[in-house]
Symmetry: C2
Subunit: 538 residues, 2 copies
Amino acid sequence: MFRTAELGRKVSKTVYAKEFPALRLRLIGVQQRLRWADFPVIVVFAGVDGAGKGETVNLLNEWMDPRWIQTRAYEHPSDEERERPEYWRYWRDLPRHGLIGVFLRSWYSQPVLDHVCGRSSDAEFDERLGAVGAFENMLEDDGALIIKFWMHLGKQAQYDRFKRLESDPLTSWRVTPDDWEHWRMYDRFVTAAERTIMRTNTARAPWHIVEGWDERYRSLTVGLILAEAIEKRLDQMDAAKRLAGQTAAKPVPPEKRKKKAKAKAAAAPAPPVDVAHALTPGLTVLSGLDMGLAYDGRDFEKDLEARQGRLNGLSRQARDRGISSILVFEGWDASGKGGAIRRLTSALDARTYTVIPMAAPTDEEKVHHYLWRFWRHLQRAGRVLVFDRSWYGRVLVERVEGFATDAEWQRAYAEINDFEKQLVNHGIVLVKFWMHVTKDEQLRRFKDRQKIPYKRWKLTEEDWRNREKWDLYELAVNDTVARTSTQIAPWTLVEGNDKRFARLKVIDTFCDKLEQAIAKSETGRRPEVVRDVVARIG
Amino acid sequence: MFRTAELGRKVSKTVYAKEFPALRLRLIGVQQRLRWADFPVIVVFAGVDGAGKGETVNLLNEWMDPRWIQTRAYEHPSDEERERPEYWRYWRDLPRHGLIGVFLRSWYSQPVLDHVCGRSSDAEFDERLGAVGAFENMLEDDGALIIKFWMHLGKQAQYDRFKRLESDPLTSWRVTPDDWEHWRMYDRFVTAAERTIMRTNTARAPWHIVEGWDERYRSLTVGLILAEAIEKRLDQMDAAKRLAGQTAAKPVPPEKRKKKAKAKAAAAPAPPVDVAHALTPGLTVLSGLDMGLAYDGRDFEKDLEARQGRLNGLSRQARDRGISSILVFEGWDASGKGGAIRRLTSALDARTYTVIPMAAPTDEEKVHHYLWRFWRHLQRAGRVLVFDRSWYGRVLVERVEGFATDAEWQRAYAEINDFEKQLVNHGIVLVKFWMHVTKDEQLRRFKDRQKIPYKRWKLTEEDWRNREKWDLYELAVNDTVARTSTQIAPWTLVEGNDKRFARLKVIDTFCDKLEQAIAKSETGRRPEVVRDVVARIG
């Protein structure tokens, strides 16, 4: 999930000097418009220590008019606070209509820390995150605009940052023993963070994950997202008010007008602002791949056979244990999905696997929820199910081509994460591949296909049209990885310019995952339900 | 919560014979319109055994066209089902657009049973209910209309029904040993049921609690709610389509039209259908009160003093232990709220209590969420806080007078339950009184007030206006008790025609609750946070 916030995004001094005065003016303008609006803005900062939460908040206060912005950071509860329910202190500080309230170490802080330090179970953690969701949902129902920033640093980056701060006498006070202790729990923190984001990311109040390493980048990013989100809401409210004024034959009472405006605002959630992309164009999870990777062995067929042998053995063990697998293949046209799938399945017993090539939905599928067609394909215990393109169509092709509305593809991330969680919790091995080729390599392959008669059928007009939208697709892929590469169901990005390298990587990845699952099942940590059915399948 | 479903609602044979043919025709008509709609209808039945779930579903199948309705009831999972994630079997059976899918022993069944039988903790239960909510929410986002019926019987009624079924050789097979075992767990079942309803009652998919004793009543109720809900949605979709067709200068592509229609439908949730009230007019929780209750002692002043003495002692103990109390007084105009509050507070140390008479919100309160003004009044540990009218204004006066929109007051039940849960979980003693007088008694008191000069100021034009809306208010009170009288925060309905009786009942109730809380604190089950502060307060 945080992969897209570890790309090393940076903004140069020149760009910053150009952007920042305009942004500052814009933010001041936003504040002036907001003053007369009938809703408050709630800005939440959370994330990794050292990722610049405090500095960014200070900067916002510096840039904006202090009369219309209020900042609250919470320490250990005071006596006064402990004598009242947990949320009392947040209620007390909620901004009134027209104000921006900035919250540091907010309602997210204690639930995450308690979980990281082992003071709360998974279920308790989820329950508290549920309470957070209910709280925000209630405020939003009342019209509040909530904007949430998760400031991120990679583990090494956090280490480097602490070291850098410590080495300077002027900033060494910023690094406390607590910080180092938290750093040692980094992995647990990130797991909890991911769960937090998955549980509390809604279409109305999405999390913006911001890479915190470069000060200029993160400052501009936060400022731009803030300005854009507030402006958008103000515009919507204005438009709704105009509309209410026009269509009403007789004057609409204020409360009704407010209702209409709210309804309108709720119906059209703002698409996420792609500030990161605008500030650091071309920088995505894909652009960071080493596309020079190639097979460097001597006898590919022999190496492939060895891997297929390993896979065959593991797949039998998995079948005997009732462990199912689901493989998802997504990727560019001509990126070698089909070839990789064939090399993989040829190592499996034909009775145990199924390949589902995704075509346009059938009539029957069209009159159901879009996930229904994937649920219906789920296999019995011990089988391998391969999707050649998958439910990710919703957030890739359907997004880019406009087949899904903004609201539909935006809420799909949460729906997909939830779906995959159910699969993994059931004990299914889920592996997701993005087959990547460069744009040049794709062109070469397209031309090859045109030349070779038996491959020509593969190339359609649509492939050329898709190619023209490469950048839009790349952006969609980047967002998809950001939102759906979770600890329980991470994406495997495959450097596919060299087909042989790609095919081996795919099989290796699947083998490793199978091996882990089998080892886990032997220590008895597999779900009981799967063990139940082993005998019958074997 | 189930109090309003234990009123003994009945429909006579005559009324049934008149209503049922029309209803049947209407349902068939609804089905015909629905066939061409682009959404499915999902009907969920849950509730107490013997409350007629199965019979009602059979009846629906009999009344309606079987081609457009499908019924599913779930048993213990099959092998096929156990090999896949829990929800697979429900996904498999989801109705396609245009169909009505009826679900018995559905996704609610296992979570509730596991909790009742002690196989899952509170937090786990909540997590599973959260999954239910996410599932329904996803289907609704996709356009599905979900209608949920909770069929209820009181504990005695369930016993009687089982006995009656057993005594008839033709129906005795219906009562299984399981049924009796469940009956023994009735109280735990009802607690779990309440939690389920609170957690999964949303504006889009509210629960309809139906009293299951009388077959004619429950059949008509379910049928009418069903017909009304589907018709309403169909009308909304039609209206949205007409509007989309009118305002568009150029033809709107189908996917956009769908989006608009959905947005419109989502923005205007249907108010709950008040079928119970229509079928059994005048029958509410208030109509069931014994209004002849009166003080029957010999020396009221002495009796009052004894109670005040008890309260004084208990309140000191509570203060010493840091136990706070919040008392809510709601009731008709001239129902004696003020008098009861004075008799109660005069037993308390003036430094420990605060009375908040609710007036119109201040300017500052108006620019915050409506619950903000109550949160800000919360007191430190060990205090007594009395609200003379309260947050219930949202679902009473604001509903009846139209100050709150339908969506606002409908979602307020969940918001209020959540708020009160936070209070009670924090260790606060929460007591809610509805002061009831009959309409005649109110008139008598109004006239008295007109006659007695020093009372005349109490009576305003508004009191007379409110009186005209008595029935609407009574309906609102009934719904409020149905939705917010929970195990952790039940309502106390006070029979107030006799002021002396009412005053003593109020003090007695508060004393009993205080005593329980003090006893609990001594067994060490009180929240830690409260114990922390005892020393400082004492």
